[in-house]
Structure formats: structure tokens, C-alpha cells
Symmetry: D2
Subunit: 282 residues, 4 copies
Amino acid sequence: MCRWMAWLGQPVLIEELLFKTQHGIVDQSLHARMGAEPTNGDGIGVGWYGSGDGPALYRGVAPAWSDTNLRELAAHVESPLFLAHVRAAIGSPVQETNCHPFRHGRWLFVHNGYVADFDLLRRDLMLAMDPALFPQIHGSTDTEVLFHLALTLGLQDDPIGALARTVGMVEETARRRGRTPHVQGTFGVSDGDALWAVRYATDGRARSLFASADVDAIKRLHPDNPRAARLSPDDRVVVSEPFSDLPGVWQEIPPDAAVTVRRGGVLEERDFRPAATGAAAA
Amino acid sequence: MCRWMAWLGQPVLIEELLFKTQHGIVDQSLHARMGAEPTNGDGIGVGWYGSGDGPALYRGVAPAWSDTNLRELAAHVESPLFLAHVRAAIGSPVQETNCHPFRHGRWLFVHNGYVADFDLLRRDLMLAMDPALFPQIHGSTDTEVLFHLALTLGLQDDPIGALARTVGMVEETARRRGRTPHVQGTFGVSDGDALWAVRYATDGRARSLFASADVDAIKRLHPDNPRAARLSPDDRVVVSEPFSDLPGVWQEIPPDAAVTVRRGGVLEERDFRPAATGAAAA
Amino acid sequence: MCRWMAWLGQPVLIEELLFKTQHGIVDQSLHARMGAEPTNGDGIGVGWYGSGDGPALYRGVAPAWSDTNLRELAAHVESPLFLAHVRAAIGSPVQETNCHPFRHGRWLFVHNGYVADFDLLRRDLMLAMDPALFPQIHGSTDTEVLFHLALTLGLQDDPIGALARTVGMVEETARRRGRTPHVQGTFGVSDGDALWAVRYATDGRARSLFASADVDAIKRLHPDNPRAARLSPDDRVVVSEPFSDLPGVWQEIPPDAAVTVRRGGVLEERDFRPAATGAAAA
Amino acid sequence: MCRWMAWLGQPVLIEELLFKTQHGIVDQSLHARMGAEPTNGDGIGVGWYGSGDGPALYRGVAPAWSDTNLRELAAHVESPLFLAHVRAAIGSPVQETNCHPFRHGRWLFVHNGYVADFDLLRRDLMLAMDPALFPQIHGSTDTEVLFHLALTLGLQDDPIGALARTVGMVEETARRRGRTPHVQGTFGVSDGDALWAVRYATDGRARSLFASADVDAIKRLHPDNPRAARLSPDDRVVVSEPFSDLPGVWQEIPPDAAVTVRRGGVLEERDFRPAATGAAAA
């Protein structure tokens, strides 16, 4: 049910992390090891910060492993901060508007997981959304709704707090509808400067999520690559599951935790708990 | 802004009407004469009644003129009742879930036209929809919302009446939001037995819509075609704009009118006026 | 490296064999058990005989598991003889013209496997093809070339013999180019009346291929299905790997063997050996 | 039958020329004025030089006007030299491998026009191609064959000369096959440093082709755009038909002429005549 990764560091050709690692995100589209399914073949997306205004999006419905445009782009676009996502659909259509990352202004958002009983909750959650954001909903995923709900609840001021309120509201709404709430997911968010990642599951069994331990780890990623040789302490990767050519390098982000990654290799970790908003969506 | 056609009659290979007429719907995808634009290249759809349960849908994002699967299907599927649609998007994404026909149970729905200020009204209109239908919304067109609103307002019992209430509600909602309402459209609806078509515009300048005059007209469609030679009084076509190889055959459906087509070549016409529902959506 | 199936029998809705069996061909697109890879997500195709002239083709680049048009078609098209194929590309692009079945007049052709050193041999093999067939090559697979070579070498008069000559010519051409020949594959061919299947590998380790044993087997396929209940001795299925809900029913087609399936449940098996054509392509 | 453009100058966001001009190439995909058809909706391509090794390719089968990834790319990729192409297919399938630009190493190639009787000549022309290039043919256009024939005949050493020999060989081959030769086209070629363009038709009625007159012309392109304000004499555009917001700026490249554009705003024009190769392809 989806895999994603995020890079924050010096500018690199995107292919360095998508295609030139062992068991990178593209390989995970076909052979994921830690997901519910090995196959994540229901579309892909890359969002990157670089030239032009705001982040760029490339999204497509072809599987990552056969998308020639993805391969081209990755080989010719450099970026200091990007998120990539491979999708395994669970019910909603395979269409570009259901592919991650989702974007709002300078913000990008990716998600691995799901909201149980989403069909039942979707209307309530869309009503709870800022009406001004409603016209931006072009697809039918839970992720798109969660993102716009998080924007409604303050994502641009306090990303982790807003995600806590979002998850809290979803859980309250499920209870209000007589269901046992179940939100399952890892979330990745960026504004082009920092990167936030959350690992959470209502019942504690969260999807896998890892961060690169430190710059030395990254250097070992491509010992023979001139680009890797000039890595700086600025470089960090967050991934759904580790690249396989760097055993020992990855630190698991614990369940119910959030991390903030900032320039300079800063990685701060804290607990993540759904926040009571006092009222369910409805 | 879209062209559509509907056939109700004896079983024919779909290609007879899509590809083997002059200026049929596929030609209209590239060279429409009566639409706002000559090009309707933003996806296609065919819904047909035949083998299997309920109507079948084929929808695709390629333009009709280059869709080889459409050509194959049309050449090998026979149906006594089908609707075909070529789309010209006005803002919403080109994706299968935005292609017509839309389907609910045995019902199919096509539309040519638009709802002014839809971005502003969309949320209100989706709230007015039966919540049980909400999870069926997978795209982002005004048509999909109108269809589910019409289902909410009784389409399955009284198609023309429900469309009148739907248009009425949209216009009331626009007024309530401080806008001059403008609904523009021709609508085609079927349940597999009968066919309903509406031509309407708030300001009177409705999109074009035509019906074949009688069976003799149809016979002249393909004088050398053995299939055409055995046409019965059962056969009727409704089209956004006439096929060009049958001058004199087409009767314009007047603005603000609705027609009902039933087996036996029955075509009944009546006035169409938006119905007051007493309350705007919201 | 691809999975395929063929049905010859009474008319059935295609979905009976694509979607309503356990571990049917669509499931095999995601979870193949006997192939080189579990995933066959690089496009699909169905060719069927029914209404209209000659066989119909539906081919698409989306994986079978997410292709909504495939699901629709399968649920609404009946056919007494069809071939379905899910593709795992090995190098050539994912495009409709590389999807199976390939078609020539009334003939359909599917293939699972490959020709080693095809890049080196392709030009020679295309030259050996009847020049009149050359313009029909729109893709870049080995299969398309093999099919047109087989047509050149008499497929329409003697399908198994022509395939033996085709494989023979490919092996001779490889030798002439200084390579150890390696043709690997199962082939399925039909003209709308009969069905031919071949299992072969130059080195003896051929891809898997099975045929349904007899009509009683098929009846057990869907004991509660009214359609299955009226099965006749006419019905036969050939598959790359068995459906899982019919243990004990499938008979393996031996390596280096060919079978001919005809109406009336006739299944004849014979040895398959590449035939010397006396001259390599070049 | 296709429109294309090329930019050689200072690095610009690709959108400046694709989307932000009046009647740029994307508008020409829907409303071409000087082509055989107004619609060029059968796929698009952009090839650009920038980061990474060699030129990048983005090719897609959606019409330019609705390709959201094209819009994203154009808004976020800067390049000092790029070619863009919108396709109107005449017979061959709409697939990425039939989209321009075609690429070989550092070389890009676009074409507007056609080779008459290509189905008849294709085999001969493919045989005349360097066998080492044969495996690179993945599509079925005349353009792809012409490009690889030109590579065979020395494109990398003498672009204009090789195109003259290519056209000459095609015409000779047609005559040898008993046909009146007809090659129709404008060609665009680049190696990342210079740009070559040819306008030719066997019968003299060549497709339109224009070049921007000088840097002042370009400056008038976007008088209010800060990027335009800093234009240098280095900047040149070649286009199938002029942007409409720069009347008086475009100089028509005469029929049967070739131009070479080099850094520094150099634009050299010379006659273009097919060169006798002494032997037809065969």
C-alpha cells in the first residue's frame, strides 16, 4: 500500500536516489519487502523544488518500473529537496489526480496507508474542510482529503500539530459514525525548506518508516560516485523501507513518532499523538 | 464543449453510427460544427446495453479519432441501445472518471454544457446529494454531480421531472450565493428501455440537439447497407449535431424542451422548465 | 515473462475465465506462481471471436488488475473462442502495439517467452519476412516478428508446421550470427475455429503450459454457476498456469509438444521439433 | 501534420515559449493555421539540453493542450536549447515511440511532413540503415526511419549534407519502386551546440518554417517579462508557424533551404537539394 521517499540535502540528480541505489523506490514498486503487498504499480509521482515557481509535480498512471518519462526526468533534473511516491491503490481509481504528491502552494504531501471506512467518512471529512479548498479536490483518495483537512487545521503553521489534529478528527468522526477508528499511515510533508514525517497507526501497528542516520551513511551509499564523495552534513533521506546497499545505516522512526528534518542535517524526533479537536467532522 | 449521441432501436454494430456515418460522433470529435469549439479531444465514452448485467461502459482519455480500442469495440459489439460521448474539458482533468456516460445501476447519463461558477457551487451541490451516493463520486466534473443530484431528486422514477428539479436547485443555489445562475446543457438519460433527452439553457441559448425524424430517414442513412435495409419503425437517433449524409432528416429539439424516446419509434416532446424545489442546496 | 490463456467452447462472458476463477489470468498479472516473475504488469490484451468481421482486439498498457475497461468488457462480451494475455516486458516498450494478441486477418497469436539475442537477429528475421507483411510491423517485440515470420512460412495452412519452421529459422539465424540459439516459449494461435498451442525451449526448459482435462473438469470450475451447469463436451481451456480452484483437473502439456484443440472437446497432442528450413534468415 | 519549434539561446523556462507566448506550439496543437489540419493532438515531445548526460526527452500520447505533466515540466525546467513537437498522426499509431523528438546519443531530431508511399518503401529504407542502428527502431513512423538513415549517411559529421543524401535516397528508392517520389517536410536537428533546420518538398510546396529575425524581435516577445528584458544576441527561435504576438518579426525560411543556427545569434542560410547517392535503398 504505497512506498515513498524524501530527500533533503544538496542538489542531486533525482535518479541517484530513484534508480541508482539498490532497492530504491522504483525497485520497491515491483519488489517491496515491508509493505502489505510487494507490488506498488498503480501510478507514481515526484514533486521537487528547483527552477520555476513553487514545487514541480510529475505524476503518471504507469508503474514506476516502466515509466520512461520518469526515468528521463530523474536523469536530467537536479533538486535539493524532493519527494517520490509509488502507489498501490486500494479501491480508488488509478488516475493522475489520485497520485501523490499532492500540492498546495509551496506544500507537498505524500502518504502511505489508509483510513478505514473512508467511504462512510468521506462526506463528513470533506465538509470539515475549508470550503475555499473544496474546488481543489480532483480525485477520490483518502490522502487528498487528509491533506486538505490538514491544510484547514493549520498545516502551514504547524505541520505536525495539524496532522495530529487531522488524525484526531478522523478518529472522532469514525467514532461518531459508530465505527472503530483506524487510521494507518506514514505521512511526508514539505514546504521546500524543511521536511516533516509522521509514523502512526490507531492500533499501534504502523507502516514502516526510516531515516538515514547521518552523512557518513549517505557517503557509503555511492562510494565510487563523485557526487557522493562531496556529500555534506546537509543530506538526509526518509524512506518507507531502506535501500538495501546500506545495511546498518538506517534508523527506524518509531511508531507514533514524528520527525522534522532541516538543512544542516538536523533531524528532530518527537512523539505523535492524535489531538482532540473537541468535535468530530460533520 | 462535448458532443453526444444515443441510439434506441434494433441491435446494430456500434460502428454503424460512430464510424460509418458521415460526420458521426467520432468525426465530431475533430470537426464539430455547432459546438463552441471544433475539437472534442478530451476523452470519450460509450455505454451500451447488451450481454451481461446492466449497461457496459468503455471510457478512455485518448481522443476518439485515435482510440484504436474504441474502433475495435464499435466494430464488434452490437447493441439495441447505446450512448456515446466525446468530451471537450473546460477546466477539469482529462481522466476516465471525468468521461461520460456516468452510470448508476441500470442508468446512464451524458451531458453537453456546463454549470457556471461550478467551483463555487460544487460543495453546496454535493451536500445536497443523498449521502449514500457520495462515495460514488470519483471525478471532478459538474456532470457527475448533476447526475447524482438528479438521482437524489428522483431520476429513477421521473427522469425529466428530476432533471427539472436538479436544474432548478442549481439555479437557486447560484442565486443564494449571489451569482446570476447559468446552466447550459443538453442531457441524455437511459435506463435500458427508454431514452430521455433535454435541451435547456438558463438564458435561452441552449446547445444544439436533434432527433431523427422517422424510420425512413434512418433507412436513407445507409441505402446500400443490408442492415439499414431491414430497419424497423423502432429505430431512433438523438444527436448533438446531425450526421451530414442525411440532409432534411433531422428535427431540431427546441430550446427548453425534453423528449422521451420509447421502443416502437415513439418520440414525445414536451416543455422543460426548471422546477422550484423550495430550497437551494446548502 | 507473460501469462496467457485461451478458451474454446460455448459462448461465455469473458469475465467467467478472467475474473471469476481463482488465480485466473488477471490474478496472474499480479501473483504469477510459475513464471520468471510474479508480476505481469506491462499491458494486456484480449482477442475474441464474436459479432462483426474477424476477431476483435482490446489491448491496453495498464496492468490487468487496474484496467477498468478490461473489467467492463469482460463482464459484457460473450465469446465462444478468445485468447487473453498479460505481459511482462523484457526490454521493449510498454505500448499497445507491443501487446498480444497480434492479429492478421482471422488469425490471432499470443506468446510467452523470448528469443535470445533478439536485437542482433531482428534485422535478419524481418528481412526473411514476406515484404508484403513488413508494413504491418508497428511495434518492437520478438513476438510480432515471430508471428509475421510464421505467416510467411505457412501459418494459415499448417500452424504447427509453420511454427516449427519459424523456430528452426530463428535458431539457424542465431548460429549463423555466431550465437548459441535460444528460443523459449509457449505459443497460442487461432483462426476462430480451432486453437493451436506449442510448448518449446531450445534447451528443454520450456515455460509452463496446461490444458483442461475434460468437460467434467470445467463443470467443477463453477458448480454453482448456471452457465457452468450447462457446459458441453465442447469446452476447453489452455493456460500458462492453472486456475487454483480446480486441483487435479489440469494436464500439463509436455515440453516440446504441440496441441490442437477443435470443437467437440478434441485435444490432440504431438511432438514439436524445430524444422530445418535449409537456410538461416539473412 | 505536426508543428515544431526550437530554441537556442540563453537558458529559459521552457514554458516561456510553449505556454506564455501567443499562438505558441501548444496553442498550435489545437489551432494550427498553416498546417494541413488545425489539430495536432496525437502526442507531444520535448527534448532539452541541461542537467545530466545528453539531452532529456519527455514524450507523451496525450494532446499538448491537456498534458498536465508537460505544463509542469515546462514551468520548472530551464534550458538553453530545446526542441518541442506536437504530432498529427497520418496512419501510424499514437504511441510514445512514434513521438518526436527522436534521439541518438547527443542528437535530437524532429520532423513535420511525410514520405509518400512509406509503407511500400519502409523495408528498403530500413535495410539501407546501418544494421547497428536497427535495434533502436521501436516505433513505426517515417520520421524514425529518416533519422536513422540520416545517421547512417553521416548526420553527426554533416547534418545538412546527410539530410540531403537521405532525401535523395528516399526519392531514388521511390523511383526504383515505380512511384513518383514525394518527400515533404521540415526537419529540425541538434547536437546540443548548434541547430539545423531544413525546409523541403519534392514538388516545391514545402511546409511552412520560420526563424526569428534578430534579438530585438525576441525582446519584443515579452516586453514586460524581466527574463525577456535581459535577452542577448544569442537567442533564436525556429518555428513551424509564427507566434502571433510578434508580427513583422519572423522571417520565412524559403522552400528548399537549410539554416544553421549557432551560439551568438548566428543564422546561416543555404540552398537544400537532395543529393544523389548513386544507389537507391534496396
